[in-house]
Amino acid sequence: MREEHNQEAQESGQLPKKSRREMSRRQFLSYTLGGTGAFMVGVPLIFNLRFAVDPLLQKKQGTDYVKVAKVEEISEVPQAFKFTVHQVDGWYESEPTMEAWISSDQEGNIFALSPVCKHLGCTVNWNGSGDYPEQYFCPCHGAHYTKDGEALAIAPAPLDQYEVKVENGWVYLGAIHANERV
């Protein structure tokens, strides 16, 4: 506001013409007062804003592998396994339950799919509908997927995959990432 005041005063010719570029008293005052004001408001605001955007700048915590199932339990038919992960959410730590559909392909590679439908986030089930045998089916809007998670209708993307690690006869699951099988 002060700046405008200033410019306007100059235009309306209130100031005497000067050959040298001298600063008027009004200009000097608006710069010093404006600068002081901006400093006094700006410094507290910087701290507050950095405080507010902290979640954006915090390091992502890596996901630990969790022991989920024995290798012998896994077949070519997908089965749902529930497991808990440790979650730190600010001041709140909890053990939320996760679910994964684990199966092996013809070569015997074990893979795990997230049951979260890629359409609007409902939960899919293997053989969830009589109309789509041997497929994952979402009851909300009828999205269905192949065993590899490939979307056949409605959903815009294939089911997400868990990171899989097999050690000492156990299947461990890690972070969720985009499907790499289709």
Binding site: H5, Q7, M40, L45, N48, W91
Partner: protein, 223 residues
Amino acid sequence: MLKSVYNWIDERLDITPMWRDVADHEVPEHVNPAHHFSAFVYCFGGLTFFITVIQILSGMFLTMYFVPDIINAYKSVDYLQHKVAFGVIVRGMHHWGASLVIVMMFLHTLRVFFTGSYKAPREMNWIVGMLIFFVMLGLGFTGYLLPWDNKAYYATKVGIQIAASVPYAGEYIAIFLQGGDIVGAQTLTRFFALHVFFLPGALLALLGAHFFMIRKQGISGPL
């Protein structure tokens, strides 16, 4: 760029007279520290307002992390102070500012008292100033409970016991403030609501009246 945006708006809404009216006002010599250094005592009202602005800003940002609940209040304050960047500074601003605003307001009140500025025709502004004083004390009292540590808990217990000593109405005041029979979960949510909605609302309305009156009546004359 800025000027053309301003002009575009000004052509349509004629905003220049509005802020001119607010910005252009007499600052008499006797309140200007550049003329008489002792006139710095006239700054305390403005300083109170400046700290109030800081309190409102830092308070708004603190509520991004704070939870008014007996399980999580202490944990969320601990988290925002020790885990969030600049948490110490933002909470520090609110913590120290709370005391400083009372100090500045007290000095401002002393200045008004000793310069006799409360006299006619400015009695109403003195009354509004006193109301602001009580709202500020209320803000301090309700805010003190929010971290939900031992100090907060016992300070509130004592405060409510003092309120309960009011003849006849005391018991009802205590139950109203506690939201129940003990200082507990319901007291915390209640104090939070008072601290962030009701009292700041009242404060802003009173400040508006305070500033309107001083602008309308002008600064009181020299001693």
